[in-house]
């Protein structure tokens, strides 16, 4: 028994947890619900880790057997594409549904002279779904010039690789079609008729394990486990914990289904389920239907992407006759099967789907609003896992994208612009969760940029490191909020009592209890009320610093390596002479600087300086169940770049994500980056300099001791007030005027005008339009029988007119 047979347990364990909680959650109570859910996740992680250690799939140096080449021009590297079964473990759970009829087709597999009997050993029977048959026979009939007989044989043999339905009989099939070669031995056309008996092509509920999905399940179960653990502490006082943990386990199951699915349909099932879980968890704390609109917005925006994804799936099915990755991707690698136009259409639709799930322009609006949910949910779903599904999906289907260079450029542009715009918006946010939310959008843009540059592995690498440090930052933010709440509570509860500790000399500076919310931001998550938390909550604080530095891309933390990888590949593309890539590189670099700046601002405002409210003054660190995950994640954020550095991860992912040789010119970034771009060291130095520059700028503006002044107002407030700090202020003001203010304005514009005014409005307009039409249709529903009767008669008359006269 190979170790991979354990695979179904990975999603099954969270599902078991979910079912247990649904049935017994109330009886178990909040505390035990949390423990059950966490144990389920931990067990899933253990299985995933066991798979990672024991399976050959991730073993470095694995080299696939090379068997088939069609001819030298069309050589497909003998790897994953040719031999999916070698690089992938498949686990078919059950046959889900029959999608379309399937036919037996008999073909001649080596040249035969016309008029001579076809020898038995030159005939083979293969089974094809209906859509493929038409396609392939047409191909034979119409594109004969593309084939020499040898090529035709190669092609047929390749078709033979298609999987065959589980219960389909293999023997005694009829000869349903024959492919013979014409006398001049140059044309291959089908001679006899088409098959008669459809067999039914099936879609299986099947899981597949390869390096990519293995990496994803490690991230999902690992980070998921930590977040479950954290939730035990974070949600300790919530009455609804059974429901919460049930949703969380359901989400884990759905996400694992998404990444483990062996065909597009199972992936889509996971894709929709994670959306539903996200919707449920965003609205978790919203008892008021008006506030549930955030959840609904997320759902509806995602549906737009889903429609595109669905249509893409239909096209994939009609093009390749299958939805299984093992069928589709090897075929897609063959330019004879996938023409440019169809590839572009499918890839574009998939891109739209990915922008919805991964919150990219123009479908990103839902993500910042999604922060209304509990903070661990933001960490798990809206930072570490679900939102990366779009990147995962594009990496999974990258063979199709390889054939659509224009779409790849679009991916990169969408990514870079989103990264830049979201980073700008993050500059001016006061809500700690919103800063992180926009930061997430921005980092997802980075991943898109990497994918668009053809550096799929780099995109996935950034996905991994981002999962570590962004989960850390969100959990840290939650812990800080927790600490602040504790402080408010403490200030209110004890006042000047004995509990007021001796070291708090500024105890009296703040009235007890939380201050009123500014701009509708709850005080405990308002940066303007924080400050000095590093001293009050040291574990949370220091891990938060680590996460922040990793996000900023400081050497040698995880974020540095992955961001550097992406930029490296982008500049590599620029080296081949694409002005657009140079621009995208510049945009990426500027974004890196902005990222460092807002991260520095975040750290300085929250953790350093003097407390700015009673909450901050009396904050206390969170319990162990909350800080322990922070420490683990911080460690991962520090060393998370190493697997890449030492190579095994890159090597393991290579067979899955490698760009096939014959389309490499479309996406040559990975191949030529080293030669044409600046050297890796130079780039690393530049990136480091940019990151440190951003941090330095933030330090200059928000360092401890500087009073809390909004940079935009800073300029106007300039006067004689701070004469002693003039030199300092002069620099600040320069920044404020020269750099920050324009950016602030742009950011403000993006936020209020574009975000609220255009994108939001567009989404709302669609809704309003639908409602208006609905109201219009309502007018016909008068309540009077006689009107209804008239409707019937008019309908009958119209139908009669159509059928009898118009035709």
């Amino acid at each position: 028994m190979s170790i991979e047979t354990l695979l179904p347990w990975v999603p099954a364990l969270p599902l078991i947890g979910f079912v247990t909680l649904v049935f017994f959650g109330r009886r178990l109570g909040g505390r035990w619900s949390g423990i059950v859910a966490t144990v389920a996740m931990g067990a899933a992680f253990a299985v995933a880790a066991w798979l990672a250690l024991g399976s050959a799939l991730l073993r470095p140096g694995w080299s696939p057997p090379r068997v088939m080449g069609i001819d030298e021009k069309h050589v497909v590297p003998a790897d994953y594409l040719d031999h999916p079964q070698e690089a992938v473990y498949h686990s078919t759970l059950w046959t889900w549904m029959t999608v379309a009829p399937q036919y037996d087709l008999t073909v001649v597999t080596r040249p035969v002279r016309a008029g001579e009997p076809v020898p038995a050993d030159a005939v083979t029977t293969i089974r094809l779904p209906q859509a493929r048959i038409t396609h392939d026979l047409e191909l034979f009939a119409t594109s004969h010039r593309m084939f020499t007989p040898e090529q035709a044989i190669g092609r047929i043999a390749r078709l033979d690789l298609l999987p065959i339905g589980p219960d389909a009989p293999l023997n005694g099939d009829r000869l349903l079609a024959e492919t013979t070669l014409l006398p001049d031995a140059e044309r291959a056309i089908p001679a006899a008729g088409l098959p008669e008996r459809p067999l039914g092509y099936v879609v299986d509920v099947a899981l597949q394990l390869d390096a990519l999905s293995l990496l994803m399940i490690l991230i999902v179960t690992g980070v998921g486990f930590l977040i479950h653990l954290y939730s035990i502490g974070y949600m300790a006082h919530d009455a609804d914990r059974p429901r919460y943990f049930a949703y969380l386990n359901l989400f884990a199951f759905s996400m694992l289904t998404l990444v483990l699915g062996a065909n597009f349909l199972v992936l889509f099932v996971g894709w929709e389920l994670v959306g539903a879980c996200s919707y449920l968890l965003i609205g978790f704390w919203h008892k008021d239907p008006a506030n549930a609109s955030a959840g609904r917005k997320a759902f509806i925006v995602n549906r737009i992407g889903d429609v595109a994804f669905l249509i893409a799936m239909m096209l994939i099915f009609t093009t390749f006759g299958s939805l299984a990755f093992a069928d589709v991707l090897p075929q897609a690698a063959d330019p004879l099967v996938l023409s440019g136009g169809v590839a572009t259409l499918i890839a574009a639709l998939l891109l739209v789907g990915a922008t919805g799930k991964s919150a990219q322009i123009p479908l990103y609006v839902w993500l910042p609003d999604a922060m209304a949910g509990p903070t661990p949910v933001s960490a798990l779903i809206h930072a570490a896992t679900m939102v990366t599904a779009g990147i995962y999906m594009m990496a999974r289907a990258h063979v199709i994208f390889d054939h659509a260079p224009s779409v790849l450029v679009a991916v990169a542009v969408v990514g870079a612009v989103t990264a830049f715009g979201a980073a700008l918006i993050a500059l001016v946010q006061s809500d700690i969760k919103r800063v992180l939310a926009y930061s997430t959008v921005s980092q997802l843009g980075y991943m898109f940029l990497g994918v668009g540059a053809g550096a799929y592995a780099s995109g996935v690498f950034h996905l991994m490191t981002h999962a570590f440090f962004k989960a850390l930052l969100f959990l840290g933010a939650g812990s800080l909020m927790h600490a602040m709440e504790h402080g408010f509570h403490h200030g209110k509860g004890s006042g000047h009592g004995a509990a007021s500790s001796s070291e708090d000399h500024d105890d009296d500076a703040f009235p007890p209890g939380p201050p009123p919310a500014l701009d509708g931001i709850p005080p405990e998550q308002d940066l303007r009320h924080m400050g000095g938390l590093l001293r009050k909550a040291p574990v949370t604080g220091w891990t938060f610093v680590v996460g922040g530095l990793a996000l900023a891309g400081v050497f040698p933390l995880a974020g540095f390596w992955s961001k550097d990888e992406i930029l490296h590949h982008v500049i590599g593309r620029a080296g081949e002479g694409g002005a657009i890539w140079l621009a995208l590189f510049a945009l990426g670099l500027v974004t890196a600087g902005l990222t460092a700046f807002y991260t520095g601002r975040l750290l300085l405002l929250a953790l350093f300086g003097a407390p700015r409210s009673s909450g901050a003054a009396h904050a206390a660190d969170s319990p162990r169940t909350m800080t322990a995950p922070l420490v683990v994640l911080a460690a991962l954020s520090i060393v998370g770049g190493l697997p890449w550095l030492s190579g095994p991860l890159a090597e393991a992912l290579d067979p899955v994500l490698r760009v096939a040789g014959h389309v490499a010119t479309n996406v040559a970034g990975s191949a030529h980056a080293a030669e044409s771009g600046p050297s890796a060291l130079t780039l690393a130095l530049i990136a480091s300099a940019v990151a440190l520059g951003g941090l330095a700028l933030a330090w200059a503006m928000y360092r401890p001791g500087t009073p809390l002044v909004d940079p935009a107002r800073l300029a106007t407030a300039m006067g004689g007030a701070y004469r002693t700090l003039r030199g300092k202020f002069y620099v600040d003001e320069l920044y404020a005027w020269g750099l920050v203010r324009p950016f602030t304005r742009i950011a403000d514009f993006l936020w209020h005008r574009v975000d609220d005014g255009v994108v939001d409005a567009a989404v709302n307009a669609v809704g309003r339009g639908a409602v208006a039409l609905g109201q219009g249709s309502r007018r016909w529903q008068t309540g009077y029988v006689r009107t209804y009767g008239l409707g019937i008669v008019i309908g009958a008359a119209a139908l009669a007119a159509w059928l009898l006269w118009l035709v």
Partner: protein, 106 residues
Amino acid sequence: MIPLAAVLPPAQPLMLAALLFTIGAAGVLLRRNIIIVLMSVELMLNAVNITLVAVSRAMLQLDGQVFVFFSLTIAAAEVAVGLALVVALHRSLGSSDVDDVSSLRG
């Protein structure tokens, strides 16, 4: 065996039937008294009966005429239920005007 590439029956009964059917339909649409509406429905069904009989006769078949009995039976049952409804509605509403029955709408 009867040639079925049918000769359509003489036009007059068919036209009469179409006319009656139209009158019936118009009655359903225009009259407000529920009883009259019921009668109009009956008129429609009987118009169809005329058609059936005419076609049946032209084709020298009995089938169509047998169908008429079916449809008559159905119509009777329908009217029985309809009248019961009218009575119930009249009791609770105090009116037999179809336009008064319009509280469900939108």
